[in-house]
């Protein structure tokens, strides 16, 4: 039996956010979101409620990887890229601080974009979307300990990419 609309609605932001960070393109993310939510509706109550999140994320990831293979390139998702400096709250900070903050954010997004799978997904799901380890492990079909090792590697990889670009004195308070 198909799912009620409310159950589909409950997963829309999760699906869209994950797809947007993986694909780096709002239009492609919208297409994937529609596909995944329609499939979720069709599957209906065939999926146990406690496994629904992992199912949705796994289907989203597969759809995104298919889209990336078709496109062959990945674009970094930069929500505030162009407006980073202008839109950032001033709070009395100097132009140098604001520029440095925007630059750091841009470098971080680029470093994330250069991560391979499943490291990229792990960072998106854990660090950005703050999902529990169990859901991520089931989504990526990884044992919990392996997932934690991979997360550690992914974080270290991001830090290494940023360490080379950001002077230590800019990091220290």
């Amino acid at each position: 039996m198909p799912l009620p609309h409310a159950a589909i609605a409950a997963h829309r932001h999760l699906v869209y956010g994950y797809a947007l960070h993986l694909l780096g393109d709002a239009s492609d993310a919208a297409d994937v979101t529609q596909e995944v939510l329609v499939r979720l509706w069709r599957q209906g109550e065939g999926i146990e409620p406690e496994r629904r999140t992992a199912w949705v994320l796994r289907v989203t990831r597969n759809a995104c990887l298919d889209a990336l293979r078709a496109r062959q390139t990945r674009r970094a998702y930069t929500p505030n890229d162009a407006l980073a400096v202008d839109a950032a709250p001033c709070n009395g900070e100097s132009p140098h601080t604001l520029t440095e903050a925007a630059d750091f954010k841009r470098r971080l997004e680029r470093a994330l974009d250069h991560l391979n799978e499943p490291y990229r997904s792990i960072i998106i799901l854990r660090e950005i979307q703050a999902l529990p380890y169990t859901d991520i492990a089931e989504t990526l079909d990884l044992p919990l300990n392996t997932l934690k090792v991979y997360l550690h590697r992914a974080r270290r990889s991001l830090r290494e990419a940023l360490r080379a670009a950001v002077p230590a004195e800019d990091l220290l308070p």
Binding site: P2, H5, I8, A9, R12, H13, L14, V15, Y16, G17, Y18, L20, H21, A29, A30, T33, Q34, L37, V38, W41, R42, Y77, P79, F104, K105, L108, E109, L112, I123, E127, I128, Q129, A130, L151, H152, R155, L158, R159, L162, R163, V166, A168, L171, L172, P173
Partner: protein, 170 residues
Amino acid sequence: MTCTELHERLDAHLDGDLPPEQSAALAGHASTCAECRAELALARRVHRELREMGSALCPEVVFEATLTRVASLERPRAPRPPVAGRARSHWRVAVGGCVLLGALVLGVLRFPSAPSEPMYSHEEIAEAHRQVELAFALVGRAGLDAGLYLHDTVMGEHVVPPLQRHLGAP
């Protein structure tokens, strides 16, 4: 705590998974080692920036388009041809059959068949009989060649006599 230990436990510290005494030891080491202090600051900043990126919200227009698709799938499929139409076509077949059957019955009643007379001479029937036997002999040979075994009873009781009767052989 050494620099290596700090690097190994950095993530657990940021996740709040490190026991308090180890977290205190980590902070203590960072306060005395500039390199580890910078590493800790970098890790904190990366962690914070990623959290601030946040999960993007699905635009309403995307969700509305999804619901529209779902609604189109929920709608019942195009109706099949009305039952009355299908019944009409069945009636046509039935009526046609009755007319044909009636014509046959009338034809038989009106034009009864003439008394049967032999259509072939005895010589022709004998020749046909010989041809049939020859044909069966060939079939039997072909059967043997093909590894088949034809029972004489089948040929002798169930095939040849009915054919002979049909052909009017003596």
